[in-house]
């Protein structure tokens, strides 16, 4: 009876096409058989939700796997345990490989006018400790965390606010909740699907014991102080470390849950026996029993990977380790793949349009000056020298993989052309030169641009070496100065830094449904216009009002995008944003489409050979659903 219910619900939910005629007969996981027999764990049929999410593997060219094995990963700092929240990538709603939203933890969801969001849970869904996952967990988050003044003393998270106002939250029944805003909130679902998501639910049954509302406040405060924490809210936040996933006692919905008490050099993540997905053969996912995180110095990760200590590794590997790893391929049973990165520009120069120095500020706000700087860079050489010619010379814009891509956006003002750069600089009025051939600024100083780096990557200093030559030829001297990461952003925000180097937009593969806010002043952490960004972010309370026309237009466009209802409308807005960027060169992008070496054990199945390695959207490996990865028993196999 349960099975037929499961079949029915899955078919109705329509999240996964169910093969006609085949009913998955649930199979017990070998690792858990003993516990089930001993009665400490319910049988698989009672663990999987009545409306299990059935993984359609063959649709993505994947195979049906077997249970068992462990996956070794190499990590650096203690807090890298968070990577399991990212790789696990079980979200209420998640991106599929084609960047469409699909319900994952949810049985189904429904959006009206981008304002009213109704979420339906799976019946019989359980936390990793076996306790039911219900709308009570959503209520707990909303009432006892998000709107609790002790825990969220700073108010609702940014992602829940639309024009400064939060949603109305309703529990419709045990499996249905609804969030309603008065204005469209197109970023709500993307936020839920992010690698570090907006987490709308918490394990209420576990956390209540730390909440003053459900216990004795004085006692909780005393317990908190014993652990060096200020008050119970602190203790509650500590026990609830959902993102770091390092509290073994806190239940989760991810495919693996931590079993090691920190601090440790080695965290073992065990399979979640209540995970909500099964394959067509009735095997509960994940296939792999344990994921082991071995921590150590990050600079030794390439060496350790090269000695076969990792089964799946990309973190802390850089492009220049590829050759070394390729050599080690011969000695160990792994393959090195090159995946694409999806940053708008691997490395970009950010002229500070809010620089304190008025002369520089005026120059940087002059589009001709920015264009001249851009075309005086020999991008092809940078590509050859540092990226072996495998990258793309490009502005800081969307990549070819994005449906919004146009060649013109990429190539605008990127062709190396010294004579035109010189002409543009002359037009700007920098005609005077000193005896070394350096152009003189209007106030008589020589044109020396100091580019500040966050001081950690040699890649950036190397690129600057290459940029220096081109700029020298148009009469501008480049000095690079390493800063410290603590002061890097401060100095940019205060306008002390006139130019900085960093990577371009983090999402280079957006669809029209993703927010274009990265391309417009929206955040104080933006390096090209920190004060304008702060102005928008704070709703005009701090920062400076942008006066530059295209920047104002970008802000306007961002608002229009938020209110636009149709995909075609949003797409139109996106194109205008990208066109403005291409014309104005607010950020001087250098190359994109760079590669990330990914080391994959030859025993590991269902992971694509070619992929995109990106934080958002992508969650690194998360989008390829590591719960469906499996380890073969045969030796080798992959070529």
């Amino acid at each position: 009876m349960r099975r037929s219910a499961l079949f029915l619900a899955a078919a109705l939910a329509g999240t996964a096409a169910f093969p006609a005629g085949g009913q998955p007969v649930l199979v017990e996981t070998p690792l858990l058989e003993a516990a089930v027999k001993a009665g400490t764990l319910p049988p698989v049929a009672a663990r999987v939700p009545a409306q299990a999410n059935i993984a359609v593997l063959e649709k993505h060219g994947k195979s049906l796997g077997r249970h068992g094995g462990k996956l070794n990963l190499l990590m650096g700092k203690q807090k890298d345990t968070k990577i399991m929240m990212v790789y696990g990538y079980a979200r209420l709603i998640s991106y599929d490989e084609n960047l469409n939203f699909v319900s994952d933890l949810l049985a189904d969801f429904d959006v009206q006018d981008q304002r009213i969001f109704t979420f339906r849970l799976r019946k019989g869904h359980k936390w990793s400790d076996g306790h039911p996952f219900t709308t009570e967990d959503f209520r707990y988050y909303w009432e006892d965390i998000a709107t609790n003044t002790d825990i969220s003393s700073k108010g609702l998270p940014q992602a829940l606010l639309v024009q400064g106002k939060g949603p109305t939250f309703e529990v419709l029944d045990e499996t249905t909740v609804r969030y309603t805003w008065s204005a469209p909130n197109p970023n709500f679902v993307p936020w839920i699907a992010r690698p570090r998501p907006l987490l709308l639910y918490r394990p209420a049954h576990y956390l209540k014991q730390f909440h003053a509302k459900y216990g004795d406040e004085a006692k909780l405060n005393a317990a908190a102080r014993k652990e060096n924490k200020r008050n119970w809210a602190n203790l509650h936040a500590d026990r609830d470390r959902w993102y770091r996933m390092d509290n073994p006692a806190r239940p989760t919905l991810q495919p693996w849950h931590n079993s090691t008490k920190p601090p440790s050099e080695r965290f073992i993540f065990k399979r979640n026996p209540f995970y909500h997905r099964v394959d067509k053969n009735g095997r509960q996912l994940p296939y792999i029993d344990n994921v082991v995180l071995n921590h150590g110095a990050t600079n030794m990760v390439p060496a350790r990977t090269g000695s076969g200590e990792a089964d799946l590794q990309a973190r802390y590997l850089r492009f220049d380790h590829f050759t070394f790893l390729k050599e080690s391929e011969k000695r160990y049973d792994f393959s090195v793949r090159l995946w694409k990165k999806a940053r708008g520009s691997q490395i970009a120069l950010f002229p500070n349009l809010n620089a304190r120095d008025e002369v520089w500020r005026d120059l940087f706000q002059d589009v001709r000056f920015r264009r001249a700087l851009s075309i005086a860079i020999h991008r092809a050489e940078i590509n050859q020298v540092i990226y072996y010619g495998l990258a793309q010379e490009s502005q800081d814009t969307v990549l070819r993989k994005s449906p919004l891509y146009k060649d013109a956006y990429r190539t605008a003002w990127t062709a190396f052309d010294l004579s035109q750069a010189n002409k543009l600089l002359d037009e700007v009025g920098l005609t005077e030169r000193d005896e070394d051939g350096l152009r003189l600024l209007p106030d008589g100083r020589p044109a020396v641009i100091t580019v500040e780096t966050a001081g950690e990557s040699t890649e950036q200093t190397d690129v600057l070496e290459l940029v220096r030559d081109g700029w020298r030829q148009v009469g501008i001297k480049l000095l690079s100065k390493p800063s410290q990461r603590e002061v890097f952003r401060q100095r940019i925000y205060s306008g002390d830094t006139i130019m900085s180097i960093w990577s371009g937009v983090s999402n280079g593969i957006p669809t029209a449904l993703m927010s274009p806010s990265e391309f417009s002043p929206s955040n104080r952490l933006q390096l090209q216009w920190p004060r304008w960004g702060h102005y928008v972010q704070s709703g005009g309370k701090s920062g400076e009002m942008p006066e530059l026309k295209p920047a104002k237009r970008l802000i306007r466009l961002n608002e229009e995008w938020t209110n636009a209802t149709s995909a075609s409308e949003k797409s139109k807005i996106w194109h205008e944003v990208l066109q403005i960027h291409a014309d104005n060169v607010f950020v001087i992008g250098l190359v994109n489409g760079t590669m990330q070496p990914v080391v994959i054990s030859n025993k590991l199945r269902n992971i694509p050979a070619e992929g995109v390695y990106n934080w958002h959207p992508g969650a690194y490996f998360g989008i390829y659903k590591p719960a469906t990865f499996w380890l073969t028993e045969e030796k080798g196999g992959r070529s």
């Binding site: 570090r196 602190n234 470390r241 601090p263 082991v292 000695s307 200590e309 410290q484 890097f488």
Partner: protein
Amino acid sequence: MLGYLVRRFFIMIPTLLAISLIVFLIIELPPGDYLESYVSELQAQGETVDQKHIEFLREQYGFDKPVLTRYWEWVTGMVVGDFGFSFEYRLPVSDVVGDRLFLTILVSTVTIIFTWIIAFPIGLYSATHQYSWGDYGLTFIGLLGLATPNFLLALIMLYFANVIFGTSIGGLMDPDYIDQPWSWDKAMSVLEHLWIPVVVIGTSGTAGMIRRLRANMLDELQKQYVTTARAKGLPPLRMLLKYPLRNAINFFIADIGSLLPNIISGAELVAVVLSLPTTGPVLIAALQSQDMYLAGSFLMFLASLTVVGVLLSDILLAWLDPRIRLAGGVAK
């Protein structure tokens, strides 16, 4: 003697207070704070940073309190054994450090023994054969260890140990034994990994040890009692070991002060390269990410150890050497 001890002990208190001030200064001086470095780390990865979350953390971690309050809370906490809270680990400092102390002490102790075993015979030989080719050659080898930057040597040895012996890279044991109870196999695995850090750290210490032993021995050898002993026909080796050597190794005792903190902190840089589960890398990482209470309490702990160590060696010396005891306090 008792008066000397009491006086010596009371001098320690202002010293420790001054140290705590300096430590606090060290961790407060660098611009920015832990949250700044936390934000830029998130940014580097592409994570969006919710300003509200940061403000919440700022409050949670007590960054909103004035500097003096924080200093006072930290110092008074330490007196009652509360070393503060690590932001990075989100654990009390004692939990973070305590976990690693055993292996750190193991590595350091073995290293020191290794250093002594190498340095002793070489120092003796060099002193008794001054300016011979043997003296030159052995000193040269000792100095070579001093002259090679440790962190580079560590990396090179690590690589070749992996290629030649298949030793897993980094760490003090095969990963499978981490967090497992001690067993014969685990001990063997530790031994297999231990020699690289011991040799790398040891080589740099050997040269100094050789040099000091040689110089002290040379001083002693010129004294008249040596001539007397020789004239009386004492066998050379016995004479050497029984009299001048005993006097020459006084400096080992004087060294205890500086030895103790070295045992605990381990050679930080080598430990970082070799990913040793010792305290050194924790300290370095804490300083880099401005995890201030972790760094501060740990530094304080090390400095106090030195002070205690110096006290111990002063007492030992005073006990051994009546001149110091009676002169009252011109020690070391």
